[in-house]
Symmetry: C2
Subunit: 334 residues, 2 copies
Amino acid sequence: MLIFWATGCKYKGNEIPKAEGTPSAKPDAVVSDPLPSWNNGPLKESIIAYVKGVTDTASHTFIPVIDRIATFDNDGTLWAEKPFVQELFIQYRVRRMVKDNPALANKQPFKAVLEGNKSYFTTGGDKAIIQLIAAMHTGMTADKFELAVHDFFAYATYPRLNVPIRDIIYQPQLELLQYLRSNGFTTFICTGGTAEFVRGISWQLYDIPKYQVIGTTFKYQYNDSIKSVIRQPVLTLINDKEGKPAGIATFIGQRPVFACGNEGGEGDIAMLTFCQGSRYPSYQLLINHDDSTREFYYQEQSNASLNAAAKNNWHVVSMQKDWQRVFPDTSQQH
Amino acid sequence: MLIFWATGCKYKGNEIPKAEGTPSAKPDAVVSDPLPSWNNGPLKESIIAYVKGVTDTASHTFIPVIDRIATFDNDGTLWAEKPFVQELFIQYRVRRMVKDNPALANKQPFKAVLEGNKSYFTTGGDKAIIQLIAAMHTGMTADKFELAVHDFFAYATYPRLNVPIRDIIYQPQLELLQYLRSNGFTTFICTGGTAEFVRGISWQLYDIPKYQVIGTTFKYQYNDSIKSVIRQPVLTLINDKEGKPAGIATFIGQRPVFACGNEGGEGDIAMLTFCQGSRYPSYQLLINHDDSTREFYYQEQSNASLNAAAKNNWHVVSMQKDWQRVFPDTSQQH
C-alpha cells in the first residue's frame, strides 16, 4: 500500500481514485487467495464461507448489497492501541500549542498532559476530557483540525515499535476490509476515538471515506460569518461499549451483518451482540491480543469479551496463530 | 421507476441491486441526454458543464471522486411539501394508535393532532414536538418504526394531488441524482425531517442508502435485554437552517461541492452558503416554486432564499420554465 503522506493525498496528480463500493477486482478474475496474510485454517475458511454464502443469489443465506453493512472497531482492531494513537496526537498537539504559547504549560489541562498525569483525566472524567478537547480546538475550524491531524501523521512515530504511525495498521485487516468491499459490503469504522481524528486518515489508511467513520462526537455549530463549522465542548455521543449500537443506529440506520472488534477494553461486546441480532445471517469477529512477540500481549481482567465470544459463538482471531503477518511489509515504501 | 411496495423491497427475489456509487451506465456508452426532463437552456447547460469540468482529469477544475459530495434537501427539493409528508405520517400514525387505544383521543399531543390544532405545536415549540415524537415511539424499536413507515407509504395518498405518496417525487431531480452518481458523486439527503422517517424510504425512492441520509436526530439508547436500540425523547440535531452545515459536518465530515435546496422556508440558505465555501469549484442550486399549474406556487415573504441566490450567484430552477415534467410518468406503473 503506497501512501503519499507528503502531499496529504493518496493520489498522485489527477489520478482518479476508485468509487466507494466498486469492486476493484474484475468480476471474472480468479482470486486465488483474498486473505494472503491470514494463515490457512478453520477461521479463514469460515470467513470465506460466510462471504460466499451471503453473495450467492441462489442461496437462502443471500443478503442484498444494500444490507451488506460491516462495522470495524479501530483501536486494537485495525491498528495497535498500546498506546492509543489519539493519546499520542493529544500529546503532540499540546506540545505544539505550548511551543507557540509557553504560558499554557502551567495551565490545566495542558499541565496534566505534559506531566503525564493520567489521574487528572481518570478522576476528572468526561468533564476533564471535554475540557481537554475544547482547549485543543479553541478557535479552530473543522478544516484546520484536519490539517493538524495530517501534520501529526506526517511526522510522528509510534513508541515501542519505533515506526511511523501508518505502519502500525494490521495487514490482515486491510485485506479483510478489501475482501468484504470487493464482495459488495460497505465497510464502516466504529471507534471510541473522536470521529474527526479518525476521519483525518480513514481514506489514506483504510480506503474508508469520512462519512463511513462513526466515532465519539461533539456538537457542531455553524458560524455564518466565517462560513465554517466549529466544534463545541458538548459531547453528543460517546461511541464506546453501549454507545456503539447507538452510534450505528444514528449514523448507519441499520444493523451490521458483519462486525469486528477486539478484546482488551470490553469496548466491542455490545456492537457484536447488536450485529448478531440481525435478521440476516451475521458474522462476529473478535481479535485476541495474544501475540507478545509481534504485537502486544494483553487480556481483560474480567475476560468479558472472550467470555461473550464463547457464549455467543463468535469467531476469535488468535493474532499469534491466525495471522501470518501482523504489520504491512513496508520495506518497499521508504 | 418501478417500485415494489407490496414486498417492502425494490428488488424482486434475489436480484442484486447495484452497489452505491457504481456508475450504472457503461463508461463508453454515449448518453444523448442525461437530464431528459429538464428543458434545454442555460441552467441545464450549466449543470452539465459543471459536471464535465469536475470529472475532467486534464482540467484545473477536476475534483477527486472522494471529494465529490452532493447534498440535497428533501421537502420541496426532491418531493412536494404542501403538506409535508412527515405531517401526513404523524396523522396516520396517531389515527392508528387511537384506533388501537381509543382513550388516547382525549390525551395530548394526540388530541391536538386529531383536531388539526397546529397552534398546540407552534406555541409549544420543541417541547411539544418532542412530546409528540416520544408518544409516537413509545416502546418501539428502530426496526419496528421502519415497518410503520413502510406501512404508511404502502397505503397513504397525497392530498390535493390525489396520488400515492411515491408519485410526488420530482422526476427531474431523480435524473439529476442519477446523473451525479454516474459521474462519481456520492449523493446525500440533508433534510429537516427526522432521519429515521426518510431512511425508511430513501433507497426505494431515491436509490440513496440509509447512511447517506442526514436528518433531525434523536438520541438512541441501546437496550441489552432486547438487543435493540430505542429512540429517546432527546433531540441531538435539528437539521434545518444553520443546523444543516452542523449535520453535514457531523455525518459527512466534509463540505459538499454540490448542494441543492429550495425556497419556501429559508431552510437551505446555510447549506448552500457552506457548500460555496468549498476549496473546490462548487455548484449551488435553488428550486423556485413558481409553478401553480403543475405543482404549488409559494414564495417566502422575506424572499431570503432568492435574495441569497442573487447575491451569491447561485443557480435558480424555475419549476415552470426549467422542468419539462415535474412528476414521474406513472401511467405504466399501476
